[in-house]
């Protein structure tokens, strides 16, 4: 395998970043959330990018993961690390159940069906009070700090865990993209009847992708629960806060490529925070308005996402090197 310069520099920079930020500060929290959302958008990218099935219901899996590990910890004292695996299994199962009826849908119909599924999950968690605590939410109980218990005094370990999660999910995405499954998903995306006729079991491949994507998203839910310490159904199953934001990050960054979701997350999450910081005291809703205008401008400027800018920049650099 040949040495790739750009990704190595990027990883190194990301690995050093948490050390430079105030460990009790605000920006390390923003960084951690950014890394987490980049990982979520990358997991979404497996289905949304490779098969072009735009899911607006990924909060369902995220919430399942957050609740699974926290409920297991609260009721049975099980370590969140194990809870994360259980949540991943549950998330994968949920993805399979929802994908069986929805994966034959395309375009807007698939988006709407997954949106509805996310909402159903939010309502269930709100109503199932005995298990989830209902609308009042859940607090992750305090346990003595330690890696095995997934409990830390400072935010720095959370930032590194989120970084590792992003690297793992990105590696999974890249492996799928280059594998037979990646070729098949791209074929399905571009021409379904042609894909079928040349021997691709389209239903099966889409289900596999959905399960992997759902399971990874659920595992990231545990990371969020441990970071946030408190959450309620409307947060982790939120349409705007989770489902649409994940899709938006991938779309703004560039769908179907490994760098896209990372670029998207590092643009959207800090920008959102910055807008809130600068404008929320001026007038109600102003920060959201400006944020929205910026997003519209970006998507008009680069309809295929930041990757196109990134790719042309890289091409220009390598041309200069070749000279």
């Amino acid at each position: 395998m040949k040495f790739r310069f750009t990704p190595c520099i990027a990883i190194l920079a990301l690995a050093l970043l948490p050390l430079l930020l105030d460990p009790r500060g605000y920006w390390i929290r923003v960084l951690t959330i950014t890394l987490l959302f980049a990982a979520m958008a990358q997991a979404w990218n497996i289905v949304g990018g490779l098969a072009n099935q735009i899911s607006l219901g990924h909060a369902a899996f995220f919430g399942i993961g957050a609740y699974a590990s926290t409920v297991l910890l609260l009721k049975f004292g099980i370590s969140p690390w194990l809870g994360m695996l259980a949540g991943g299994a549950l998330g994968g199962l949920a993805a399979l159940v929802i994908a069986i009826p929805t994966m034959r849908l395309q375009g807007h119909y698939f988006a709407l069906a997954t949106l509805a599924f996310g909402e159903v999950m939010r309502v269930i968690e709100n109503v199932w009070t005995s298990l989830t605590g209902g609308p009042g939410g859940l607090s992750v109980p305090f346990v003595p700090p330690g890696f095995a218990a997934y409990s830390f005094k400072l935010l720095r370990p959370h930032a590194y865990i989120a970084l590792i999660a992003l690297l793992v999910v990105t590696a999974v995405f890249e492996m799928i993209r280059r594998s037979a499954m990646g070729y098949r998903l791209r074929g399905i995306r571009q021409n379904l009847p042609a894909a079928e006729v040349i021997g691709i079991d389209t239903t099966r491949v889409k289900l596999q992708a959905a399960v992997i994507s759902g399971a990874l998203t659920a595992m990231l839910g545990t990371l969020y629960a441990q970071l946030a310490v408190f959450f309620d159904p409307d947060t982790v199953f939120g349409i705007a806060g989770i489902s649409i934001r994940i899709a938006l990050i991938a779309i703004i960054g560039g769908v179907g490529t490994a760098v896209g979701p990372i670029l998207g997350a590092f643009f959207i999450i800090p920008l959102e925070e910055l807008m809130n910081d600068l404008l929320s005291s001026r007038a109600a809703g102003l920060s959201q308005l400006v944020f929205g205008i910026i997003l519209i401008a970006v998507i008009l400027w680069q309809p295929r996402g930041f990757v196109t800018v990134f790719a042309s920049l890289k091409a220009r650099l390598s041309r200069r090197e070749a000279r």
């Binding site: 070729y183 791209r186 009847p193 042609a194 079928e196 006729v197 040349i198 021997g199 691709i200 079991d201």
Partner: protein, 242 residues
């Protein structure tokens, strides 16, 4: 000895009887032409054979295996695939990736890539392997689709108007390719509007009209069949000899 056995195949779309009791069989290594006026059911026949369309009644057997209810990917695995009339490529993928994806039916990615390059050699497109399929000319795209179908290693290959929009030289090349495929043991069914080409390469011709099998036989016999001339051409036999 038959490789493809089609019995009483019927399919109705709303008020249109697209296929009506179509029965025929094909021997291994045969090149069979399927002709008929527009809307005669040629493309519907191909789509039904590969499992994209479910027949209302009737059966298809490939190499002795009943294909009833099988999805297209299963039919491809047993050994029959088709090309599309209007060319259905993965336009945003490279030519090589288009063909490679088909090779994955029987091989891993690395072997599939080798096979894909062989198939591209075969249709004379190896030099454009790295180009995006959508950037090619129409005749080239038709050849990519042919290479992609070949890469599934079919026993029976259904070609739906692969010679549309080709010039004389290109058509001659494709006809040679079709013959060489037969020499390799592939059985071919060919839908084509270009009469001279079809009369030239086919061992046998099926004539469809309004979803029915109107006539069947050697090119000569079909060309002289008064029923065919009447129904299909509606003019004179001159058109067939042109």
């Amino acid at each position: 000895m038959t490789i493809l056995e089609v019995r009483s195949l019927s399919r109705r779309f709303g008020g249109l009887q697209a296929l009506s009791e179509v029965t025929f069989s094909v021997r291994p290594r045969e090149i069979v032409g399927v002709i008929g006026p527009n809307g005669a059911g040629k493309t519907t026949l191909f789509s039904t054979l590969v499992g994209l369309i479910r027949p209302d009644t009737g059966s298809v057997a490939l190499d002795g295996r009943d294909l009833a209810g099988l999805k297209p990917h299963k039919v491809a695995a047993i050994g029959m695939t088709k090309t599309f009339q209007n060319v259905a490529l993965f336009a945003e993928s490279s030519v090589l990736d288009n063909v490679l994806t088909a090779g994955l039916l029987r091989h891993d990615v690395d072997r599939a890539r080798e096979q894909a390059l062989n198939c591209l050699d075969r249709v004379g497109l190896r030099e454009v392997a790295g180009k995006l399929a959508g950037d090619l000319s129409f005749p080239e795209r038709a050849r990519v689709e042919l290479a992609r179908a070949l890469c599934t290693a079919p026993k029976v290959l259904l070609l739906d108007e692969v010679m549309a929009a080709l010039n004389h030289a290109e058509m001659t090349e494709i006809m040679q390719l079709i013959r060489s495929l037969r020499d390799d043991g592939v059985t071919l069914l060919v839908v084509e509007h270009h009469m001279r080409a079809i009369m030239n390469i086919c061992d046998r011709i099926l004539v469809l009209n309004f979803g029915r099998l109107l006539a069947e036989g050697t090119p000569d016999r079909v060309a002289r069949d008064p029923q065919v001339i009447e129904a299909y051409l509606g003019r004179s036999a001159e058109a067939l000899r042109r």
